[in-house]
Subunit: 532 residues, 2 copies
């Protein structure tokens, strides 16, 4: 089946786009941003609208990007993915050979899910989780002193940390009273120490998250935390739950209150809406809110089947990204949420995008003659304006930007100063940056001149809630998958992390037993003075 | 005097380096990392060593980079800066026209400081701060109920937030009992709301930080926090201190317990060792520890005058960065601290570097034909390994990396699992990544092949303490200044942030009064549906 997958540069639209890229739309030209263009270049999906008049495209570019999307069969592949085809695969070589079904764990709202088996499994886990939460609520599950649990430590790394942490921080205002979550991820023992010193362990649950049940960092941190529980005279098996694959070494009722299951068809970076996110988020914000989060994500999964790029926000973001990366030669993408609640969302997207699409071979193992996933980076605005925006406006490299904004705040605390509220100031700054990057400004003083013509998009909705957070996550998950399909790469494996693991193991063996043969490793250890 | 400053591409070494860049050292070649090279490519400055055998340089490249440094007069310019020459300047055009003396506020340990006037001012402010801290300590300065203050909120943005916050997080284990600092920066009202809801305001001090006393975000957040104090029946003037320029609108004893002064010769992004960092850090970790921090920074400021790039860590980092950016055409730089305590240090460096060196004109207003500051990004390891490292190893763009590591942890909590401690695992992973990026690995499965030949450096010291944090900060501050001198740009202004501010003000005027003439702004506001 995947013999039909073609490299992007073999699609007829590719050469036309290269042609078009010789004279792309100039955002700094006189009246480039006239009202008709602004009003015409808006796409809607679910509760979001995407303003993209500040991208370097015109109608003919958009038509070509539509051709590219059509010729790549991106929507067909998206549907295949959701239905359970083996999309995590390299033909002709050993590969993970798995289905990709993160969408299934939120496909719980219609009578006929796209992949009934995976959705069935998701529903069973959600039921188990609901029982657990009910036991906590009813006081059937309490600590050694009969008290309720107030805290939960999530021990996980990468996909078992970044997405859940980003969403937890985003939805903190929706937290239930007396429910807090802390996170331990890094093998750095100081990460664990800093978290433990502020908690009353007697009232703390611990969720240990590892699909394989063998992740080095997670097991080591679990051992440290178990030791702290023992030190406090507490029995870990009364506090710890496992989030892991069925029958993994961690799937052990003697050591955990409960096991919630992860499945091999969801990779870590797409697992926020599975049990990986469900346990801690439901503990914190309640299962009703978590369900709304799933509902938002599912709304996007369904609407992202739209073929018209002008009516499909994630697909439009994907092809605009490809335009900037492959045709306008921009190496990075700044994601700039104007919301402090999204302070770690970019770190999650950095993982989700760069681990998915930082690849150099296609789905038959052939090397590619074009670039794939850019470097993803960014910080919330307006903070970033007082940091790296100097370089966005006047640096020598063009950095395309994706702004994310909300019309209303979460807490509703605000104040009118000089006739506008803080939220209005936040919002005005977002719009102003997109305009400034696009139009630039001339000045006789070269240090006060701005070249402009720097592309951006603005993704907007009313406010950041469980529903819109679910939508936002799924918009980016779909965007990333779409780009991978068009680039003809496998966005769902991560073989690039293996070599570092292998070499780290070798160095650790050397540390434990210096007779191991590894001259480079030994020389490095020596000059690093670790065990001179 | 600055007529002697020359563009980098007019220096004789430039063309030789371009020549050399046609066949740069190949890290993936057989035995590229042999022990003699590893041991030879180590530089020492203060307590740090820099391992750079994993950069794409050999002795002849290093000799050329030395020529480049010499020909640019980089060390002379560094000395001019420290002595108080006007280095923040564009000849022939209106510019800030200021001295650059962040080094002066830590030049307090020798009898004859390099700029006695600025150091004298720094010492006076440190004395004022010591009196304030003594009053807190002795119970002369207490809250309305006669209780000690336990918390401090720092309200500032950009340079008044990122550096102090990064250092506070890095040195948290050195905190005095019952002393905590929180930060409010973003104009997003949710930033303020989230901080306020967790604090007992009656025992909280507030430091408001703005050199001009007019920063939009900071004044707005101050107003929000003052309102919360009034709401709690507390008198703000008993809780608030100002960190601001002398005679700024904020320098007002009726509204603040104390004013600590900032001077126009220190820009925000270099202000961590001035009163901007001093107030909150001394409150948190005590003035003895803060003095050690200054001592570490001063140690680097003095040793960075060394002309030999092989004996000057910041200068070597600077020229290796220029090699990667201008000659090997790498657009970004990943900074990867293997220390959770440095979780926000990269965000600070992103500001310090990109706001300083994200410039396109030289110091006479001429445009440049070469690239300047790269995009700076990164997250702590090992976390990053489970996130974006896939792309570092197998992505289509080469990302040079700077690893930062410590031999010992801060808290000392650790556990031996499989014969090694967590700290050893952390350290082994750091080294393994540098080796893996350099050597790569071939495999018959193209998805398990690694091209290697990807450059990195490793910056190491024993542990993260006030002294070594001061050194680390100054290493990067000097590196950034060195690069600016060699690129012949003004690293000390930030005109690139002005256009966005101007346009935001215009939009806010429109929001307050819709009769203002601004068709683009009005159209944007309309489609963004803020006030439809």
């Amino acid at each position: 089946m995947d013999n039909s997958f073609r490299n992007m540069d073999s699609l007829p639209a590719h050469d036309k786009l290269r042609q078009a890229a010789r004279q792309p739309f100039d955002l700094s030209s006189h009246e480039a941003l006239e009202p008709t263009r602004l009003a015409g270049y808006i796409a809607h999906t679910a509760s979001y609208r995407l303003l993209y008049s500040t991208q370097r495209v015109d109608d003919s570019t958009l038509d070509l990007l539509q051709e590219l999307a059509d010729q790549s069969g991106v929507i067909e592949q998206f549907k295949m993915m959701k239905q359970g085809e083996v999309m995590n695969h390299i033909t002709g070589y050993a590969s993970e050979n798995r289905r990709v079904l993160h969408t299934a764990c939120r496909d719980i709202f219609s009578a006929i899910p796209e992949n009934p088996e995976a959705t069935g499994q998701a529903l069973r886990e959600l039921d188990k989780l609901q029982n657990f939460l009910d036991d906590l609520e009813a006081g059937r599950l309490v600590n050694e002193q009969g008290e309720n649990f107030t805290d939960l430590i999530n021990i996980g790394i990468g996909g078992s940390d970044l997405g859940p942490r980003a969403v937890y921080l985003a939805l903190k205002p929706f937290s239930r009273p007396n429910r807090r979550v802390s996170f331990i991820s890094n093998i750095d023992p100081d990460d664990c120490a800093a978290v433990l010193k502020d908690l009353d362990l007697s009232r703390t649950l611990v969720a240990v998250v590892s699909k394989s049940g063998t992740t080095l960092e997670t097991l080591t941190n679990e051992a440290l935390v178990r030791k702290a529980f023992h030190g406090a005279g507490l029995e870990p098996s009364r506090h710890f739950v496992a989030v892991t694959g069925e029958n993994s070494p961690m799937d052990n009722p003697d050591r955990y209150l409960r096991s919630f299951y992860m499945f091999d068809y969801i990779s870590g970076r797409y697992s926020t809406s599975s049990m990986v996110g469900a346990v801690l988020l439901s503990f914190a914000i309640g299962s009703d809110n978590f369900r709304k989060f799933l509902e938002g994500a599912n709304r996007i999964d369904r609407s992202a089947e739209e073929r018209d790029i002008r009516k499909n926000v994630p697909l439009l973001l994907a092809v605009l990204g490809i335009w900037n990366r492959n045709f306008l030669n921009c190496e990075t993408l700044a994601i700039l949420p104007y919301s402090q609640a999204l302070s770690r969302f970019v770190a999650h997207l950095q993982q989700c995008d760069m681990e998915s699409n930082g690849k150099s071979i296609n789905r038959r193992g052939g090397s590619l003659d074009y670039h794939t996933g850019p470097v993803i980076w960014g910080e919330p605005g307006t903070n970033g304006q007082h940091s790296f925006y100097q370089s966005l406006h006047q640096g020598t490299s063009v950095v395309p930007s994706e702004f994310i904004g909300f019309r209303r705040s979460q807490y509703g605390l605000d104040l009118i100063v000089d006739q506008t509220s803080s939220q209005e100031k936040l919002f005005a700054n977002l719009l102003a940056q997109a305009i400034a990057l696009a139009t630039g400004a001339e000045d006789h003083n070269p240090n006060r001149s701005f070249p402009g013509n720097r592309p951006s998009s603005i993704l907007l909705t009313d406010s950041l809630t469980p529903e819109t957070m679910g939508e936002l996550l799924a918009i980016y998950e779909s965007k990333i998958a779409f780009q991978g399909f068009i680039w003809n790469i496998n966005s769902f494996d991560q073989e690039g992390v293996q070599l570092g693991k292998l070499l780290a193991d070798r160095l650790l063996n050397l540390m434990a037993d210096s007779t191991h043969p590894d001259p480079v490793g030994r020389a490095f250890l020596k000059i690093a003075s670790f065990r001179e």
